[in-house]
């Protein structure tokens, strides 16, 4: 096994983050789990250390609270004794209909999925660029590839994140830091449980393992599972005059 890396997981209490953390832990990496629910973070951290005999730390961070990010990232890197990788899994998807009637929900989605993500990743990027090594994984969404009437507040925030990650990758590539954009399709999480119209749903554990493999291969943008690349290729290339009439 290669040397244990020091990895920060942001938004660690989601099912997808748990699957990803398990996949890194399975190869022996040390983890720092960050999120808002202290009790749950403690449970998750213990779980990973018992199952995989790895070192785990945890701490509270609110992705929407950008003012706290600088101190937080320093604290996490100190606890880990360095920073080799960051997984941004924090995300917030509210129901489109709820968001359409309450703009505070839209603001929250932008604050978490886009603004907060940029803020916290900027802090991590600065640290890693100074060291000249490491990787950043941003979990965006296929929802950001084209705005659809069923999910466009969330989708537009994720579109912003995708563009940010692309720019960050461009800037950091000369500084030894790799940036990977992940676009999951339907994953079997609390976000999708019971929703109608789900198909080919992937398990969070499979997504986690796929992320670890993609990091090894230094992929730039990965759709997970892979066939979503082609589904989205079709959706992105539908002519607008047709697309605008579809119930998507």
């Amino acid at each position: 096994m290669s040397e244990a890396r020091k990895i920060l997981i942001l938004g660690a209490t989601s099912a997808m983050a748990r699957g990803t953390a398990a996949a890194f832990a399975a190869r022996g990496d040390s983890l720092y789990l960050a999120g808002r629910d202290t009790d749950e973070l403690t449970r998750l951290a213990t779980d990973l250390s018992v199952r995989f005999s790895v070192t785990t730390h945890h701490g509270v961070v609110d992705i929407a609270n950008t003012a706290s990010h600088s101190a937080f990232v320093k604290q996490a890197a100190t606890a880990l004794g360095g920073l080799d990788g960051v997984i941004l899994a924090a995300g917030y998807m509210a129901d489109q209909a709820d968001a359409a009637t309450d703009f505070a929900i839209v603001e929250r989605m932008v604050a978490v999925n886009y603004l907060g993500a940029m803020s916290v990743l900027d802090q991590c990027a600065a640290l890693m660029a100074a060291e000249g090594q490491g990787f950043i994984v941003g979990i965006s969404s296929v929802a950001g590839d084209r705005g659809r009437q069923s999910n466009y507040y969330y989708g537009s925030a994720k579109a912003g994140l995708t563009a940010y990650l692309s720019g960050l990758r461009n800037r950091l590539s000369s500084q030894g830091v790799h940036v990977m954009t992940v676009k999951p399709g339907f994953v079997d999480t609390a976000m999708t449980y019971g929703l109608k119209g789900m198909f080919l749903v992937a398990s969070p554990e499979d997504i986690g393992r796929a992320i670890v493999r993609a990091v090894e291969k230094r992929r730039n943008t990965v759709y997970l599972p892979w066939f979503w690349r082609y589904i989205m290729l079709i959706i992105q290339h539908l002519p607008e005059f047709l697309f605008k009439r579809l119930k998507l």
Binding site: D39, E40, R43, L44, T46, D47, V50, A190, Y193, G194
Partner: protein
């Protein structure tokens, strides 16, 4: 958290009922403010983890290990952790479950709710004997710590309580040390029921675990013809030094992809299988080394083996007959086998086992005696009438039917079988007077609808 309406069934796939399912990702979601029942891996056979048109909370993702001390074997974990996960994590470090049922795909919460037992019940008791304590989310959403010393009445109402006292959150249990992941097994043929009873009653170091497979189509003089299987954990000395003694090794897992047609298991095919099995397995009279998976969980190597019984499913009838005198149990089991054999019903799996003393769980199944388990396809008009007749035999003998397997027991028989029911009702009345925790089984047996 969103819900999903689903048709659910237990492992026997009878009955099937529409339920509103919820699947929390963390322990705080185990409790709903509206009436509910928890469901772990859905391995109880009947309607214990069903709630027709009501809420069912799936605990499968609430499965975090919270502490494991590899020096003492003390483990704390969330109720959704399965025995398979515990074996994966703890066996390589030299610890095994002190009590395990015949499948490892069961949750900790389910093991407590059914107070499950294994092949060593006659020595080591039921699952609760390994449980130090647990926390229980009760009707108002508060959390109660339960152990033999703290809230002990709730502890004993929850052990075997089929999920009706609350939602089990975290469990502390004590594992047992093992030197290896291997088992030394030995089989003996028993030509009839009397010999099977004698062999099961033998106390010997080699039968830490013991169980008999019965050919229940054998009739007349061969009634009760069995293979008695003994086992014990192998010590490191007994294995070749080169082997990694705690490695579990991979085992090929197959999946039964479709329902077999309902005629696949009939008295001809089963008696043919039984004859071959009796000769082959009964011939292994010299002790042999096998591994934990093969020994304890033979059926786990075929995922969805319940499809063997076809779309209409099957019921498992498991009863225990106490040994007030050895004859009462013997005569009772004999009469049950005679009834079954006369009806030419093919039970593909039939198991006879000796059980030790009761655990203290107010609705726990095991009691000192002999237990018989039969898998019967749901087929033919008279199946349920025959099972009712078996209930009468069991009641008369002072025995009981195992709720974790049950899908059809009548309320009167149930009340006659569980003498500590009134004590259980007192606890239920005190901690959950409005039946926040309710299930299809509970309503059928009159546990929640007075």
């Amino acid at each position: 958290m969103a819900s999903a309406k689903k048709f659910l069934a237990g492992w026997g796939r009878y009955p099937v009922q529409e339920c509103i399912t919820w699947r929390p990702e963390r322990a705080s979601g185990l409790y709903l403010p509206t009436p509910m029942i928890s469901r772990g891996q859905g391995r109880s056979y009947g309607d214990a983890a069903l709630n027709e048109n009501g809420n069912v909370v799936l605990t499968e993702r609430v499965n975090r290990f919270l502490d494991f001390d590899s020096d003492s074997g003390e483990l704390r974990a969330e109720a959704g952790v399965t025995l398979a996960e515990i074996i994966d994590v703890c066996l390589p470090r030299g610890w095994f479950l002190p009590v395990t049922p015949g499948t490892k795909f069961v949750s900790l919460g389910g093991c407590i709710a059914a107070d499950v037992h294994g092949k060593n019940h006659h020595r080591d008791g039921a699952f609760s004997s390994a449980v130090e304590s647990f926390s229980l989310i009760v009707a108002d959403g508060t959390v109660l710590n339960c152990s033999r010393n703290e809230n002990s009445d709730v502890f004993w109402a929850t052990v075997g309580g089929m999920g009706l006292t609350g939602a089990i959150k975290d469990v502390s249990l004590r594992l047992r040390p093992v030197e290896t992941a291997r088992v030394i097994a030995k089989h003996q043929k028993a030509q009839d029921l009397e010999q099977a009873f004698t062999l099961l009653a033998e106390e010997d170091d080699s039968n830490e675990y013991t169980v008999a497979w019965i050919d229940c189509l054998a009739r007349g003089r061969s009634l009760g013809r069995s293979v008695v299987m003994h086992g014990r954990h192998a010590t490191a000395e007994e294995l070749p030094a080169s082997k990694s003694v705690l490695a579990t090794g991979g085992r090929k897992v197959r999946t039964l992809p479709i329902d077999l047609p309902s005629f696949a298991l009939n008295s001809v095919s089963v008696s043919l299988f039984n004859a071959i099995y009796y000769r082959r397995e009964g011939g292994k009279q010299k002790s042999f080394v096998t591994d934990i998976d093969r020994y304890f969980y033979p059926l786990d190597s075929i995922h969805h083996w319940n499809r063997l019984y076809g779309k209409r499913g099957f019921v498992q009838y498991q009863c225990v007959l106490p040994i007030n005198t050895i004859d009462t149990a013997f005569e009772g089991i004999k009469r049950i086998l005679e009834q079954l054999s006369a009806s030419r019903r093919a039970s593909f799996l039939a198991v006879l086992k000796r059980l030790g003393p009761e655990s203290g769980g107010l609705l726990s199944f095991p009691q000192s005696g002999y237990t018989l388990a039969l898998d019967l396809p749901v087929r033919g008009k008279d199946l349920f009438a025959m099972l009712d007749r078996l209930d009468d035999i069991v009641v008369k003998a002072g025995g009981r039917v195992y709720l974790a397997k049950d899908a059809r027991l009548g309320r009167d028989s149930f009340e006659a079988m569980y003498p500590r029911l009134s004590e259980w009702r007192e606890v239920k009345q005190r901690i959950d007077p409005n039946n926040h925790f309710d299930s299809s089984m509970a309503r059928r047996l009159g546990l929640t609808n007075e």
